[in-house]
């Protein structure tokens, strides 16, 4: 019974946070709502015996990514109320509506299918795929989810992917540094020093600027 309560509370936090991210006009509020969702998901990870992933979730997401969002919001000063109803692309509105409602319909169908599969009625498909379906009401199989088990799979089966992520991170870091630095002119003077914040870098005399 305590599982149900934990799931209900954490799931409600997740959903409220997610809706808050989409609906809040202020980006700071959206970021804080995102924190709420991430903590709810971390609680659910703990409920699913994924303690290490829960810790990583809190550290990486709430501790790094959301802080990065807040830094950018602070840096750019965009924490004013944003327009929620821009009728710029009505086609995209319809796409969004179709995505939402169609996705909800698919969701209902999918949950019914998944429950049926887990009840064992169609388990032969899973067995053919090499997945052994235990009895539906069996408790979660006791399997090692501690750091050593994750490390064993990470450094044996996924070692190439692991090395590739290091490459990815280096590329991301270097690319971001190049993207986000202000470009300097030939005399070492800051481009855009006179125009304040809104002056573009000299390489960025964009069509956007011409349009304004």
């Amino acid at each position: 019974m305590v599982e149900v309560v934990v799931f209900a509370v954490a799931g409600a936090a997740c959903l409220v946070g997610a809706v808050g991210v989409v609906l809040s006009r202020n980006p700071v509020h959206a970021a804080l709502m995102l924190v709420m969702t991430l903590f709810g998901i971390a609680v659910l990870f703990v409920a699913l015996q994924a303690h290490f992933i829960a810790a990583v979730q809190v550290i990486v997401y709430a501790g790094a990514i959301v802080v990065l969002f807040l830094f950018v919001i602070m840096l750019l000063g965009v924490d004013r109320a944003a327009e929620l109803s821009l009728g710029a692309l009505p086609a995209q509105r319809w796409t969004a509506a179709a995505f939402g409602f169609g996705g909800a319909a698919v969701l209902v169908w999918l949950v019914a299918a998944v429950d049926r599969i887990f009840k064992g009625a169609h388990s032969y498909e899973l067995e053919r795929a090499g997945i052994v379906v235990t009895e539906a009401d069996a408790p979660a199989t006791s399997y090692a989810t501690d750091v050593s088990a994750i490390a064993r799979s990470l450094f044996s089966d996924y070692v190439y992917a692991f090395e590739l992520t290091s490459l990815l991170l280096i590329v991301a870091v270097i690319g971001t540094v190049i993207l986000a630095r202000r470009s300097y002119g030939a005399d070492g003077r800051r481009a855009g020093q006179h125009g304040g914040e809104s002056a573009p870098a000299e390489s960025g005399a964009t069509p956007q600027e011409a349009r304004q």
Partner: protein, 104 residues
């Protein structure tokens, strides 16, 4: 047995709902920062599904995949926020629609 029991389907439902909310927000909102947050919501919904399946089938590989998703999400946010900073510095009131001006 109290009848009500948290099954894998509950977690999958919640994950799919997070994915849908994030996707809808990605299509509806115009602020590039909030669009990035919506992408994070979608990724978290998928992560929840991975962990739920890992718990259901007793397979630790789901946890490993979630770690990779976290790494890729971090890289994506870093690059995305770099782009947002570069664009919004040039024109502070830009929305995602204004980026069509980049086509030239």
């Amino acid at each position: 047995m109290s009848g009500l029991e948290v099954t894998t389907g509950w977690y999958l439902t919640l994950g799919a709902m997070l994915f849908l909310i994030g996707g809808t927000g990605l299509l509806v909102r115009r602020n590039p920062l909030i669009m990035l947050m919506c992408v994070e919501l979608m990724l978290n919904g998928v992560n929840l599904s991975f962990i739920a399946f890992a718990d259901r089938f007793g397979d630790v590989h789901g946890h490993t995949v979630v770690l990779f998703v976290l790494v890729v999400a971090a890289a994506e946010v870093v690059v995305g926020l770099g782009l947002v900073v570069a664009v919004l510095r040039a024109s502070p009131r830009a929305t995602a629609d204004d980026l069509s001006a980049l086509k030239g």
